[in-house]
Structures are given as structure tokens and as C-alpha cells.
Symmetry: C2
Subunit: 229 residues, 2 copies
């Protein structure tokens, strides 16, 4: 029974790691679709989100059954409960990648991103992919130090997001309101994507140490919230 139990726990962790790969791929392809105004790539991101949703549901049902049938305690229970939260974070990351792809689709054949902001979005895409892949490694290895790295990487996203915001709301913004709105919402999607990666990493810290991260006190979008930039 215990062997089957640990196999189930491993299966849940593997599914979560696989979900991070899918989310990383989705955001990477969404960024390319956005910058290259590639509508068929955007469509593929939008379609692929269903697989992340399906895996989330599978992780949640597995976790629920494991609690009901095996009645884990202590660290094992923390792992299972936390898995359901991580699946929710990663599923939301998939949604945010899909949102980016939809903006790409909506503005096709133009790109939603003005030329001078392409570099910023390319960098946000790179950071997004990095933080979610790191979050996946953190899940696989239960590595608390690496988990703290994810929060540091998120600082880079916050800086990019702030710079974006300052540029768009500057008095010399030449691209009109619709583009401003696209850019600001896109920026928020990337920034929230990274926030959820930080949440995943902090949940691993909780599994290992039993201590709640800052996440429990209200999420990560303070620093980069538009009201404080």
C-alpha cells in the first residue's frame, strides 16, 4: 500500500513538472506569435491550453483520491494539498499565455507591440519561460534554494513591467490608446505569469520547511502593480 502511495505522489509531481513545461512552451510560443504576428502559432497556443486544463483536473482528482484513500499526514499531506494549489497556479499560467496569444490573434496582421517595445516583450517572454522552468525544477528536486532564486528572477520581470508602464503612460507616447491598452494588459499577463511561478516555488518552500511564504499574505503583484509604478 505504501509503495503504491509513494508512486501516486511521484506521479502527481511528474504531472506538475510536465504542466510547467507546457506552460513554458505556451508562453514562449505566445511571445513569438505576438512579436511575429503569427496567427497560426497563436491559434496553436490557444488550442493547446486545453491540455494544461486537463492535466490540472487530473492532478486535482489524483490528489483528492490520495487524501481520501490513503489519509496522509504531516509532510505527505502538505505535499498533496500543496499539489492542488500548484496545479491551480500552473493552470492559470496557461490561461495567461493564452491571453497573450489572443492579443496576437486580435491584432493580426499587425503586431500588437510597437517596434521600440519589441525588445522589452522579448525579454519578458524569456524571463517568463525561465521562471516557470525553474519552478518545474524546484518541484522535481524540492530545492528550497532554487525556489528562492525564482523570486529573484521575478524581480527582473517587475523591472521590465515598470519600465513598460512608464513608457506607455509617458507624455510622448505616440501610438494611441488602443495600443497603450494592449501593451498594458499584455504587461500584466506576463507579470502575473511570473507571480504564479513564484507562488509555485514558495509552495515548495512550505512543503519542505512548513513555513508559509509571503504568498499566503496576499500574492506578489504589489511591487509591479500599476498603482505603485
Amino acid at each position: 500500500m505504501r509503495k503504491a502511495y509513494h508512486e501516486e505522489l511521484d506521479r502527481i509531481a511528474e504531472s506538475l513538472v510536465e504542466m510547467t513545461h507546457l506552460a513554458a512552451s505556451a508562453m514562449s510560443r505566445a511571445t513569438t506569435a505576438l512579436l511575429d504576428a503569427d496567427v497560426s502559432l497563436a491559434d496553436s497556443v490557444i488550442a493547446a491550453d486545453a491540455e494544461i486544463d486537463r492535466m490540472r483536473e487530473q492532478v486535482d482528482l489524483l490528489s483528492f483520491d490520495l487524501i481520501a484513500l490513503q489519509q496522509p499526514v504531516a509532510t505527505d499531506l502538505r505535499v498533496v494539498v500543496t499539489s492542488m494549489r500548484m496545479s491551480s497556479d500552473i493552470e492559470r499560467m496557461g490561461d495567461l499565455a493564452r491571453h497573450v496569444a489572443k492579443v496576437a490573434r486580435l491584432r493580426y496582421p499587425a503586431s500588437a507591440v510597437p517596434a521600440e517595445l519589441r525588445g522589452t516583450f522579448r525579454e519578458m517572454g524569456t524571463v517568463a519561460e525561465l521562471v516557470v522552468e525553474k519552478a518545474g525544477s524546484v518541484i522535481a528536486a524540492r530545492d528550497v534554494d532554487a525556489a528562492r532564486d525564482v523570486a529573484r528572477e521575478d524581480d527582473a520581470m517587475d523591472r521590465l513591467h515598470r519600465a513598460l508602464f512608464t513608457h506607455v503612460t509617458g507624455s510622448d507616447w505616440p501610438h494611441g490608446t488602443e495600443t497603450a491598452v494592449d501593451v498594458v494588459l499584455l504587461g500584466r499577463y506576463y507579470e502575473r505569469f511570473a507571480d504564479h511561478a513564484v507562488s509555485v516555488a514558495e509552495r515548495v518552500i512550505w512543503i519542505v520547511t512548513g513555513e508559509w511564504g509571503d504568498e499566503a499574505a496576499g500574492g506578489h503583484d504589489e511591487v509591479s502593480d500599476h498603482t505603485v509604478v
Copy 2:
């Protein structure tokens, strides 16, 4: 033992309902702060969010201990696991109210909302308060029909959000980029607030029926997502 157990379950439900009252009050006061450019009211909303965060943590620890010590199964386990998800939804609603208050604070002594949009935001505030109070009643009564009402109320929010978006991105928007950005992000905060109320209601449907709502398949911001308006 079973008596203590059901008392604990009741205590969790009561805490969740109390959290919905706090979130309703927060969004109501944030809306007033926004429309009246009332900076001390905005500050009180920002400060009060810590109480919602504290209650969320309390619900999660209570739920976790209940699973560990009482090993509930079937519906009882569904209730406890789902409570932790509802606490997360409601805590996020508190964050979103705080975001609205922060925009009010940032633009003080002006109002972030142009005169012709005051009615729309007042209505969004009313719908937000309504859906979260209804979600609270749904938790208290485990009322599946009322839960489905919440989703219908959310349609009103989506219509308001779409109208806002169309207005801001219209070619005759006279208020400049910064105000457009404020209005669009504010609109998103209200819309996400209502989405989380729908999630809470759908989680109650899951408790009662054992069926996953649409929520499990990826959240509610499709309809009002800016990419499809």
C-alpha cells in the same frame, strides 16, 4: 470527536462567509474612494486587507489540521479541500479591492474615473458587492440554485466591462493614455473580482453535486477578456 469535527467544519464555513462580508465591504468602500477621490477611505481599504489575509491563513490552517487529525472522507473531505480554494478566491478578491483603492490613492486629489464613466463604475461596484454577498449566502446555505444565480449576475459585470472597453478604445476617447490605462486596469480588477465570486459559487456546486464546474477548465475571464471584446 465527531461533534468537535462538525463544529470545526461550521467554524470554517463561518470564517469564509465572514471573509465574503469583508471583501464586499472592501470593494464597496474602494468604489466610493475611487468615485469621490476619498484618500482616507482608500487608505482604510488598503489597511483592512490584512484582516482578509489573516482569515485566509486561519481557514487554511484549520482545514489542514482537520484533514490531518480527523481524516474526513467523501463529502466532508470535499468541503474541507474546497474551503481552502474558496479562501484563496476570497483573499484574491480582497487584493483586487485593494488595487482599486490604490488607484484612487494614486490619482488623488483627482478621480481616476472620467465623469461619463462614473455611472459605469458605480454599477460595477454594485454588481461586485452583490456577487460576493451572494457567494457568501451560497456558502452558508450550500444552495446550488443560488450558486447558478451568481454566474448570471457575473454576466452583468461582463457587459459593463465590455462597454467600458469599447468606450476607452474608441477613436473619440478624449482623456489621454494615462486615464485610459487606469480605466482599463480598474475594469479588469472589477471583472476578476466577480470571476472569483463565480468560482466560489461553483466550488459550492462541486461540494453538493461532486461535479466540477467550468471553473476547473480554466477560469471565467474568457467572455470579458479584452481580446474578444
